[in-house]
Amino acid sequence: MKPARFDYIRAETLAEAHAALAAHGGEARVLAGGQTLLPMLSMRLARPGVLVDIMRLHEIARYGIERDVIRVGAGVRQAQLQKMFELDKVQPLLAKALPWVGHAQTRARGTVCGSIAHADPSAELPLVLVALGGEVELSSARHRRKVAGEEFFTGPLSTARADDELVEAVTFPSRRPGYGYAFREFARRHGDFAIVACAAVARTDGARLAIGGVGDRPVAREFAQADRTSLTEALDAFSWELDARDDAHASAAYRRALVRQIGHAVIMEAEQCRV
């Protein structure tokens, strides 16, 4: 289990990173925390010709509140964001979901943007991004653009990022008055990728529920404020739309059942958390 050979570029400025990606395109991979890329390299599932290490770029190693969003730069590690002052007040959903991301030892190295860019359908941070309606900031030597989380994820491990683009930052909307947030996940072991993960945002006029671990990407759905019966039916329909599948750990029917039950519970919990 040793990686195939690659060149290693230690970018020292954002422009250098862009230039490297522009020069090597699909042959290059961005190396940030490395917590998912390194196993793929060692298993030789990924064989990039060039790795572009962006962890020395001070300009993207920051996070902070900008207007009504938390902007998290590409160099910010998951553990750093988890320790953000009053994160549970700034964005409760992030505070609730981050402890479910891997283990403390991988959060210490893994980056927030790296998890988003990797786009595992069972990962928590992509789910939170979609649930909150956050955005991905992509930059390259050519241009900069913002893509809504829902459009960024295009399939398992697949995103709207072009080969020369860097996920420079992601933005999570901050907590909004009157909104409630809840997160629940079921995995077979603590710290595993989810079999079903549910993130809900409750408003006065309804709720938004996002599901991870079931479809080929995190998927969100709006549920209008309605009585319990129609919510149950709507959740049932949602569970079928997710295209659940069987694997060694759980059946598709089981995943749908959890979407219905945990989805319901998490919406109710978000309702109760509204402040």
Binding site: R47, P156, D192, D243, D247, A248, Y254
Partner: protein, 891 residues
């Protein structure tokens, strides 16, 4: 027999700090990959079959051979030319090689070995080897494999059944006819493995001048595999020097599976003309090291109305995977003498079949045969209670071997050495507060929660009889082969010229603290402190005392090896006492060793330093008895109780039999189906306890393995034989968050058959815990059938509301969107549905057309038609960061 032995004064029985730990805690351990190999050592990497079953055509190695740094490439043809198959315990036309020769029979089977200057380059070279595979149908289910129409794994065998033996003890037919009822269970035990955190490692050298191999490997024994390896390498036994490193990172049986790799890497070293080192990686370990057997068992009991069992009828189908690898089918026979468990059942019939399937070959794994047997037996006891409307604990109690009946000869020939099963159960019920647990169940159920209680009573065999495996042979076959029996343990104790004590043991410790306990034993005999005694745990077959039974398996250390250490130390002590008697002017019997001194029993001032006495034997041999000057004693100890199987196939398969009684309360989550172990009580009688801390460690460690087997771990295979548990993200080893702390209870009835009265304790919970938890789950759900591992999805199926298809869809379309089967963990799948409005024959014709295939398979390049139904398609897959060129074969 009730008495708990009084703790003798001394070191044994105390939880002294381990002598091993200072090095291990500071990073100074010496594991196989830490040892500096000989200069010029090269690294090996192994190319493995991605297919469960295929004929191997050409293996193109030229490109790999040309890669700078590559020294040699070994394929099946080289291995066939240089060696012989690994011998097995069954006389059948089966050849077991350490590498695929012309045919791959499981995912992960070695196909080629690259030897290169380092592991990175060796893996680069693997990428450059092109193997032509012609796929064959794979069979993964043992029942399917037994069908006459099943694809054959080994053509010469003519079937996939390697052995089919029936046994009868007493008169079970009459008992079944006379009993009130026949109650049966039909169960499957899954595949799993204890996966030590350190993987396999081998460093091999070949000396052409001597035609001799020198191998260092973290092999755990049994050393009965040494002759198997020497024969495979086609050298006399004294030309295979096998050594083990000082430390080994856990084994639990699994490092017995090094045998084929020792042979393979030794051959690679010979071919390369240089020493070769191979360190297995985790992916190799999970897919292709070794697995416990999966087993399909039908077990029926002839039962009286009060739950008394008169007879058992066993039908066991053992799935050993793709090859019958020695010592298999031992897992099927290890429990033969105790197939009646903790129960007094005089009539037993057994049918044992050994079946081959396209899965990794099986081998030793903690519990070895026990989890499979007790899963059936203790599920049966619960079923009897359920069908007869009795309390499961009462059914257990009613059938126990009576207190006072020990040593008890079982129907199948086992000799249960000691115990008080009823007494142990009553203590556990009281000290583990079963009544309170029952109240908890009533309360939980009152709230609508799914709460269940499970029980398991288990006899834990240890110190296996080297002859038990021959029970698979008929009496005539055994007579021809010559009797096999016994269980040699060896130990050496010696003095050096400064009077210091050294001990060497052939138990190849894998982390259990053997060195500490051996030091305790010797310290007690000589009146020293354990830290004064140096114990070597590494084994060198060229220099040390060993026999075929040597090694670290069958929980044999405390009973056998520590006993041999004790006997060796006592022999030296007797000699020293005679020497001291002369100097102290007392009778030898009046010499006492205590406080690092030899002293007169009645006058402590009449004494000399122990080291001076022991050293004097070097400097003044005249002090010693004439003719017995040896300052070093080696003991070979084997118990007479371990006789060869009788002509009637009765076998005392193990020397010692500990007793375990477990009960637990579990709750199943109404939403997720996840099991929470609320309380777990485990009562052990493992004879005399030599080191309570280590006994506790064996119990908590075994419990963790067992909980993993019960709830999380499975080597899963898709129907086509692809392996679904290839990483530690797929094969789920429980963490500190999943393993609760069991309540451990003890009692001691010493074994009359071991020198120190100790029995094994390392494997029992792997036998008792999976079925105890399964019984609790069956109780919680009120169902007859539960399957391991207790996947939340499987349990939830019992109580999740029935799904209704969404409005606007039909069942067919809903199933099409919702229930596609069989994606492997590493399989990448596309989305989208191709609608083909044609009759099936047309679809089939289209799929058999190479051009059409190229059009509909994403990324398909060249397509080669191999036969009417087989195509080879070169595929480039690109999903996210994953880009790979591979050869996909489409059936």
């Amino acid at each position: 027999m009730h008495a708990v032995t009084d703790k003798p004064p001394g070191w044994l029985g105390r939880s002294v700090e381990r002598l091993e730990d200072a090095a291990l805690l500071t990073g100074a351990g010496r594991f196989v990959d830490d040892i500096a190999p000989p200069p010029g050592t090269l690294a090996a990497a192994i190319l493995r079959s991605p297919r469960a079953h295929a004929r191997i055509g050409a293996i193109a190695i030229d490109a790999a051979r040309r890669l700078p740094g590559v020294a040699a490439i070994l394929t099946g043809a080289d291995v066939a030319a240089m060696s012989a198959p690994l011998a097995a315990g069954i006389k059948a036309p089966l050849e077991c090689w350490p590498i695929a020769i012309d045919r791959a029979r499981y995912v992960g089977e070695p196909v080629a070995v690259v030897v290169a200057s380092d592991r990175y380059i060796a893996e680069d070279a693997l990428d450059l080897i092109a193997v032509s595979y012609e796929p064959l149908p794979a069979v993964v289910d043992p029942i399917a494999a037994m069908q006459p129409t099943a694809t054959l794994l080994h053509d010469k065998l003519g079937a996939n059944i390697a052995s089919d033996r029936s046994f009868c003890y007493g008169d079970p037919a009459a008992q079944f006819a006379a009993a009130a009822t026949r109650i049966a269970v039909s169960v499957r035990y899954p595949r799993n493995s204890c996966t030590p955190i350190e993987t396999y490692g081998v460093i091999a050298e070949y000396a052409a001048s001597d035609d001799a191999y020198d191998v260092t490997a973290n092999f755990m024994g049994p050393l009965s595999m040494h002759p198997v390896m020497a024969r495979a390498l086609r050298v006399p036994g004294n030309r295979l020097r096998l050594r083990t490193p000082p430390d080994s990172g856990g084994s639990f049986g699994v490092k017995q599976g090094l045998v084929p790799y020792i042979v393979l890497i030794a051959l690679a070293a010979r071919l390369a003309g240089r020493p070769v080192k191979w360190i297995e990686d985790r992916l190799e370990h999970l897919s292709a090291s070794v697995s416990a057997t999966n087993r399909v068992t039908k077990l029926a009991a002839a039962v009286d109305a009060d739950g008394r069992v008169r007879a058992l009828d066993w039908d066991q189908i053992e799935d050993v995977g793709a090859h019958l690898r020695a010592p298999e089918p031992a897992a099927l026979y290890r429990m033969h003498g105790n197939l009646t468990g903790a129960y007094d059942i005089r009539h037993v019939c057994v049918r044992n079949r050994v079946v081959l399937t396209n899965k990794t070959p099986s081998g030793l794994n903690r519990g070895f045969g026990g989890p499979q047997v007790y899963f059936a037996l203790e599920r049966l006891m619960q079923r009897i209670a359920r069908e007869l409307g009795l309390d499961p604990l009462d059914v257990i109690r009613r059938n126990l071997v009576p207190t006072g009946a020990f040593p008890y000869r079982t129907a199948t020939g086992g000799l249960l050495d000691s115990g008080d099963y009823a007494g142990a159960i009553e203590r556990a019920v009281a000290q583990g507060t079963l009544a309170e647990l029952r109240a908890r169940r009533v309360n939980a159920r009152g709230q609508g929660r799914l709460y269940g209680i499970g029980y398991a009573a288990v006899v834990e065999p240890s110190i296996s009889n080297m002859g038990y495996i021959t029970t698979v042979l008929t009496a005539q076959e055994r007579a021809r082969a010559g009797p096999k029996n016994g269980a040699f343990a060896t130990a050496t104790v010696a003095f050096d010229p400064l009077g210091c004590v050294s001990v060497q043991i052939a138990s190849t410790p894998q982390g259990q603290g053997h060195r500490t306990v051996a030091a305790q034993v010797v310290a007690d005999v000589f009146g020293l402190a354990p830290a004064d005694v140096r114990v070597l745990g590494e084994l060198d077959t060229a220099r040390d005392a060993w026999s075929i039974a040597s090694g670290n398996y069958s929980s044999r250390f405390a009973g056998a090896v520590a006993g041999a250490v004790h006997l060796a130390a006592q022999r030296l002590a007797a000699k020293l006492k005679r020497a001291a008697a002369t100097q102290l002017n007392v009778a030898p019997d009046d010499v006492v060793f205590a406080g690092a001194r030899a002293q007169a029993r009645d006058n402590r001032d009449n004494a000399m330093a122990f080291s001076r006495l022991a050293a004097a034997t070097h400097w003044s041999p005249g002090l010693m008895d004439a003719g017995d000057h040896a300052l070093r004693e080696t003991v070979f100890w084997t118990p007479p109780e371990l006789a060869a199987p009788s002509d009637a196939d009765a076998v005392n398969s193990s020397l010692c039999h500990g007793f375990i009684f477990d009960f637990c309360g579990i709750e199943i989550d109404r939403v997720t189906g996840a099991v929470r172990v609320d309380k777990y009580v485990t009562m052990h009688d493992c004879g005399r306890v030599l080191h309570p801390g280590m006994v506790a460690g064996q119990i908590t460690g075994g419990f963790a393995h067992a909980l993993g087997a019960a709830l999380y771990e499975e080597f899963a295979y898709a129907p086509d034989g692809s392996f679904l548990s290839g990483t530690f993200a797929d094969y789920l080893v429980p963490t500190a968050m999943e393993i609760p702390q069991p309540l451990m209870l003890h009692m001691e009835t010493p074994s009359p058959f071991t020198p120190l009265g100790a029995k094994g304790v390392g494997e029992g919970n792997c036998m008792s815990t999976p079925v105890c938890i399964a019984n609790a789950a069956a109780d919680a759900l009120g169902v007859d059938q539960v399957e391991l591992p207790l996947l939340p999805a499987r349990l939830a199926a019992h109580f999740h509301p029935r799904e209704e298809f969404p409005k606007g869809t039909t069942a067919a379309t809903a199933v099409a969107i919702g229930a596609r089967q069989g994606d492997g963990a590493m399989t990448l799948h596309g989305r989208g549905v191709v609608e083909i409005a044609r009759v099936p024959q047309d679809v089939w014709a289209m799929l058999l057309d190479a051009k059409t295939l190229a059009a509909i398979i994403p990324g398909a390049g060249a397509i080669e038609k191999l036969s009417e139904t087989h195509f080879r398609v070169d595929v480039t897959l690109g999903v996210g960061p994953v880009r790979g060129d591979g050869h996909a074969l489409v059936l």
